[in-house]
Amino acid sequence: MFSSAKKINFLRQTLTTLCRNNSTLVIAEHNNQKLIPSTLNTITAASSLGEVTCLVAGTQCAQVAAEVAKVKGVKKVILADNEAYKGFLPEALTPLLLAAQKQFKFSHIVAPATAFGKNVAPRLAAKLDVSPISDIIGIKDKETFVRTIYAGNAIQTLKSKDDVKVITVRGTAFEAAEVEGGAGAVEDAPACDAKNDLSQFVGQELSKSDRPELTSAGTVISGGRGMKNGENFKLLYDLADKMGAAVGASRAAVDAGFVPNDMQVGQTGKIVAPDLYVAVGISGAIQHLAGMKDSKVIVAINKDPEAPIFQVADYGIVQDLFKAVPEMTDLVSKK
């Protein structure tokens, strides 16, 4: 028989466990019309932590909420539709997330490690007085996570001591959740003061492209300083179109103005892990490797046999890219 003190303690523990019933909130990233694919990878990561609720906040985003409700593994969708969420500013979203947390007491709050997630999650964490965990690549248990440090040159496993875990997830490290098969209930977000007079969204200039999105493409072809100028990137676009690939770039190519910066692959750009990564005229600096070395197969085309990229490449060819790339485009088109 328990002594009463023990009994109370046991009850309290059970209650705590119940309250923190390992329920996970996923902050969905979308553009008011469509879900951003990395949210699906985030849902997979979140599913291994507990029952998944997704928060969809935006302007006229009911359609996105319906889309999320169908994703496999999603139990509930909280919809917050308000003009104040225009531009997804963290100053407006944080009070909403705090209100949701106050009501539902999630044990984990998870967002994709994209520009959006990286912007919002730490702001929320500071309000909850917890230490956020960025860009995780693995989950050992409900409080132990794996992430990379030093541009991917070391793997850190850490145990969070905080009550609530605020996490961003590296999309390429988790499979995408299936977009069908779920039956989440959509409900309105808890009331909160949505007014934001600290910041204002002015506008966006998005790079338009018909090619697949860089972080989720099956094949990525990237160019570096060796491309010499922006016009020569056309060689890569031609090859990419034949292969259904996305086109990326090294920092050198971006800094030299060959291509816009949202194409940058690396520690400070995007992290990709396609089935095939073709590095063209890229030497392979630490910072670039950080963004692509988890690709399944890496091909390097470089005229410098000493280029560090050859140390990670599965297939390397020492040749002038201006000869090799057009030849490859030809050969690829001949099925």
Partner: protein, 255 residues
Amino acid sequence: MSGFRILVGCKRVIDYAVKVRVKPDKTGVVTEGVKHSMNPFDEIAVEEAVRMKEKKLASEIIAVSCGPQQCQETLRTALAMGVDRAIHVITEPKEYESMQPIHVSKILSKIATEEKADLVIVGKQAIDDDCNQTGQMTASLLDWPQATFASKIEKSNGDLSVMREIDGGLETIKVKVPAVLTSDLRLNEPRYATLPNIMKAKKKPLVTKKPSDYGVDITPRQEIVSVEDPPVRQAGQKVESVEELVTKLKEAGLV
């Protein structure tokens, strides 16, 4: 108008060009005897603050670094680039190992209030822990707006118009001052400190404080279980011709 008072965060990190080595006992990476320098993103933050002062938008720039004794070298670099004075929040090397963005942002927000700063500018991420959190958390603690991953900052009326690097391209937001900004690589090209400026920097004020002076508890919130080498990729092969390459890719079903 007297101009903004700007606080810049400067972290001392292993130099970006160094290939780090994981300690055999898996507790971290080897830092002793390894070249350190200012976090590249923080150099950009300092440069932006100095440019604002040169444009008479800023009146004073204060650099802050948290960490062991050697952080003072990092602060001297900032002073040589044009920062007016520096605050070193000293911690024991052992304490510093478990210090996280949450601790640094608490210290920064306290200093920002105490020094009546109008802007806090920090790098978007440190290249060692790769967290990308401190600026956002500082803004949150101060209840100031945040403009992260900034590639262009302009004053427009009383507010700041900031161009941000986002996944699909660029976006522009307006934030009210006081605000926290985090610098992306393309915000500017940091200057080199000239020798006369390095000499002058030695005379600029640098005060030393402790986290407890700001009432900040730096108890670790996370326990580092292990730090390990990433998996090594199997050595690949050189192919002689593009034809051979494409054949191999076709065999693997990749083309």
